[in-house]
């Protein structure tokens, strides 16, 4: 299956813990947000703790709130972040 690239952004506490603000990941075409998260969990350590445990995180695809089942468009901008605390 052909591959596509997505850009992944991390914000706030997640960026601090993972020591990553941005990266590019290659995924099969048609991959979902859940597939991307599974890739991150497979890294183990803090990645598994943040995305594979009890901690709540939220995600956006192309700057709209997203769900795990959502399919990632090619060249998508995916953002992963803690629940928001503005206002």
């Amino acid at each position: 299956m052909a591959e596509m690239t997505v850009r992944v952004l991390y914000f706030a506490r997640l960026r601090d813990v993972l020591r990553t603000s941005e990266e590019e990941l290659a995924l099969p075409e048609g991959a979902t947000l859940a597939d991307l998260v599974a890739l991150l969990i497979a890294r183990g350590g803090d990645w598994a703790a943040e995305f594979g445990g009890a901690r709540v995180f939220r995600a956006a695809i192309n700057q709209d709130m997203a769900r795990l089942a959502d399919v990632l468009p090619a060249n998508a901008e995916v953002a992963l972040f803690p629940p928001v605390t503005g206002g």
Partner: protein
């Protein structure tokens, strides 16, 4: 509905923003909400507000548009600050203007409730004990439920 949305480091003037809405002939009610930096146990030394540039404005626009579909609003102003803030600084201004108060009150609560859940801002508080990201007040279960609803 006229919509003004700004994300900025600079402070804002409630009086100036109010004056922009209050002079319209069709406006009979303006509800103003101002969120402020409050103290925390351990004494707040400062706060940093981070956001997701681009998505922030997009989300705020969607929330305000939803309010505009539910209530007859003449104008809405949302100004949210980011960057370094100190105790009692203004964080957010929301003005909702309508012909009558009911719509202005209801839309104000609606927009703030959604902003609190869906606008990508994060607060980091610094006290004498160091700096820490503020945890969302929603219980994890509630956050998850909203997530599952795709909101």
């Amino acid at each position: 509905m006229d919509v003004t949305i700004r994300v900025q480091e600079a402070d804002f003037s409630l009086a100036d923003e109010y004056a922009l809405l209050a002079g319209r002939p069709e406006v009979g009610a303006v509800v103003a909400f101002v969120g402020l930096v409050r103290d925390v146990p351990g004494r707040l030394a400062g706060m940093t507000l981070e956001h997701y540039p681009g998505m922030t404005e997009k989300q705020l626009g969607k929330i305000v548009a939803q309010a505009g579909e539910r209530w007859p609003l003449s104008a809405v102003t949302v100004i949210h600050r980011v960057g370094e803030l100190k105790l009692s600084d203004q964080i957010v201004l929301l003005l909702t203007a309508s012909a009558h108060r009911d719509a202005a009150y209801a839309a104000s609560q609606f927009i703030m409730d959604w902003l609190k859940n869906d606008a990508p801002f994060w607060k980091k508080e610094t006290t004498g004990e160091g700096a820490a990201w503020v945890e969302a007040k929603d219980s994890d279960a509630k956050a998850l439920a909203r997530w599952q609803q795709g909101q």
